[in-house]
Point group: C2
Chain length 463, copies 2
């Protein structure tokens, strides 16, 4: 991590970018070109999805430049982009020129995009998501580029170098990440406060995303705002709210330079958790708190996942839902019946940071996904280091596809007290997710301002 020492003024963008280039130059010798990508259209060309630059480009270029590329070599930055055509002024107003942008980001040189062809020999790169730019990349390089999660040779070396830099956030990144989490906290508070007046999921979503829009940010990912918390990636918002329901909201903001946050809260539509909802919620919260208490540099994130699994199974034993002791139950993957995802993931420019690279960022070199039911979904398997930002998001879900699976019913026949479980039918899905920064000697929870204790959430709803 880069600290500016006693200087309180945040480091300028161009200085931060310079530091990042220096780090890269220390780890990687060959020249590098990174592309920003192109805007995508929604059914006809002029109706465009909001543009989002490729995150690796963004990390080293700092600005959401459309259809641009940067050449990096020995810490030197060359920008390639075209000036806006004169006619664009009518539709888009005055736009920054290449020279102005080069100045803002501290580029050493700047050229029109067509000059890129002359600087492409022997470079390493990361392919972008949009197919049009990907094909341009292949054509310019004169070689086939696989998708970003299947890189080989020096492109893979480059990816590993970038990962090792992006894994630990610098001062500029942290300032942005804190902005994003601050607005996301506000969004969740607004959602909680809007609930007693709301009639549908979409009205709560509106209150939450409204805060993000009002702060001129975007959603870092498609919001989940649902009474069907057991559907893990639910992106429907049509359900009416009913008084016994829990609402699960997984909503996060992203700053204009692309830095993300990722928060989940679960609360009672009526303003009061039922006794059963309260019991399970407190099990999930205990897991959440236990994980954060254990996190510090040197700890294996996988052990944090297993700790969550242990606390959850222990809590479910105490509630009479599971039978046995938690260590054995976790070894049998019984936790995954109710907690079938990982405890969290890296967070940065992407909400699943660097997931375009497959597991190159998430998994320490030499490690790979487990085929265990209770570990296979873990997105991060590394030792924690200062400057890493990760989510901690334990959950409890009653997923019909899991709990009604005959194989599981058989395997866990004597592990689950199915009759007791039936008494918790008003708990469909609970998740509590916070963004946790690893510091030199422990953690800083960036989203700590948002309550997660039942009493505090209920108080917030009523005010």
């Amino acid at each position: 991590m880069i600290y500016s020492g006693i200087c309180r003024k945040p480091m300028s963008l161009s200085l931060s970018l310079q530091q990042r280039r220096k780090q890269l130059a220390q780890l990687f010798d060959d020249p590098v070109v990174l592309w920003s990508g192109k805007a995508l259209s929604r059914n006809f060309p002029a109706n465009r999805y909001p543009f989002r630059a490729n995150s690796h480009f963004l990390y080293f270029a700092g600005l959401q430049l459309e259809n641009a590329a940067i050449h990096l070599e020995n810490g030197k930055l060359t920008l390639f982009m075209d000036n806006p055509p004169p006619a664009a002024t009518l539709w888009h107003g005055e736009m920054a020129t290449r020279e102005q942008i080069a100045n803002t980001i501290g580029a050493d040189e700047a050229y029109p995009l067509k000059e890129l062809a002359t600087r492409i020999t022997d470079i390493a790169t990361i392919p972008v998501q949009d197919r049009v730019t990907h094909q341009e990349q292949c054509q310019l390089l004169g070689r086939d580029l696989p998708v970003a999660k299947a890189l080989k040779g020096k492109d893979l070396d480059l990816a590993q170098a970038i990962v090792s830099i992006r894994l630990c956030h610098d001062e500029n990144a942290l300032a942005e990440l804190k902005k994003a989490s601050k607005v996301s906290v506000k969004a969740h508070k607004a959602g909680i406060r809007a609930t007693l007046q709301a009639k549908t999921e979409s009205e709560i979503r509106s209150a939450m995303e409204g805060v993000i829009i009002a702060h001129n940010m975007t959603c870092a990912y498609n919001s989940i705002v649902t009474v069907q918390g057991e559907v893990l990636h639910n992106e429907d918002y049509h359900n009416p709210l009913q008084s016994g329901d829990l609402i699960l909201a997984d909503v996060g903001a992203e700053t204009d330079s692309g830095w993300a946050s990722d928060i989940t809260r679960t609360w009672a539509v009526s303003g009061k958790f039922s006794a059963t909802q309260r019991d399970i919620y407190n099990v999930v919260l205990a897991a959440h708190d236990a994980c954060i208490a254990k996190m510090r540099p040197g700890v294996e994130y996988r052990d944090i996942h297993l700790l969550a699994a242990t606390v959850i199974t222990g809590g479910l034993v105490d509630l009479g839902i599971l039978k046995g002791n938690s260590a054995d139950l976790v070894e049998q993957d019984a936790h995954a019946l109710f907690f079938p995802h990982g405890i969290g993931h890296l967070l940065g420019l992407d909400v699943h940071d660097m997931e375009d690279l497959g597991d190159v960022a998430g998994y320490e070199t030499g490690r790979s996904r487990s085929d265990r039911f209770g570990l296979g979904y873990l997105r991060l398997d590394r030792k924690l280091r200062p400057g890493m930002l990760v989510t901690i998001e334990p959950g409890f879900y009653q997923v019909p596809a899991i709990l009604n699976n005959p194989e599981f019913r058989q395997k866990y026949q004597n592990t689950v007290n199915w009759e007791r479980l039936a008494q918790f039918s008003d708990v469909r899905g609970i998740r509590i997710e916070d963004d946790v920064l690893i510091t030199n000697n422990g953690t800083e929870v960036l989203t700590a301002e948002l309550p997660n204790k039942i009493a505090e959430i209920e108080f917030l709803m009523a005010t």
Copy 2:
């Protein structure tokens, strides 16, 4: 247009789709395959932009099915799509099967997507926007498909047949379009009402899009909410509001089946228009009202554009900004100094309906874009017909790129009273846009519930 006669109950989706297929069969003999397209990713595969199906597919299939295709021949509908993989249930919950969907949309047969390869001979199609699907289309057909605006041969014949059907909306479409306009009207009212408390453009945007989200709709296009109304496609929302500013908001909702609305209003940040803002606003409103009063079947839309130009130049002559008479001024394109876009466009499943096809929908066969400064931006040049939905959106803008252009300064040296114009410097951009349905004997303004008179807007702001 299809009317269900005295039956008050809206026609079922499958019946509407059947009618649409019958219309197509009457106009086009060859078999047709239409693809829905694939979701696009935002920087890494799992972070997807909200999926929007191709509009031609949507028109005949009715549902936003991802990665599906339909085969149409002699009024018969065959659906090609894969069932969700079993593992998808965990993440996405129970999803409709191919058979269930086939039943909902009234498909005669339904097969897995791979069967499509057997039904592809001699078909006509329309290429979709996303490059991945476009390439699959080319590969399956064994021929190069250009982009949708450059079709040839039987694909172009198909496009023309579809255009002639989609130009005039049926009962099902109108019901959806009215839903979209109703929510958009609410959104604008919320934006107007939020202004006196708002400090930035983004806060007004939040109030407006919040309504759209609360009704579980999406934005039909990227909202424009700006104090810089002279930047025609302004998609920034960062400006603070200042008391002398006008705010221009062009915001429209889209229903879940893809039908759009498109509304613009302009109002004073302070709650009170200045005298100069009032004068120009009333010129634009007079143009708006004059256009709508003239519209009925048989009228040329181009004449409506020229009428708007005439009313605007006439009004500017009365205000002392232009010199001469309005007919001459329009012939000299002087209107385009301040109104440099067309009076409107088709509205339907796309906010610029069928603009993927270039001008095939907008321009009557045999007509093409004018190279006149005052006509070239016109997106629609057809005789109006019952069932057509168009926007009427006159405006007045002080665009530096136009007004400071030395060529124009020279050409219109004696046409514009530049000193008088300088007194209107607090009018940067005004637009008033409504959605106008052509009926059998006139028009129905779908967005009429939203005030456009200054007194009514000022009243709304204060309440």
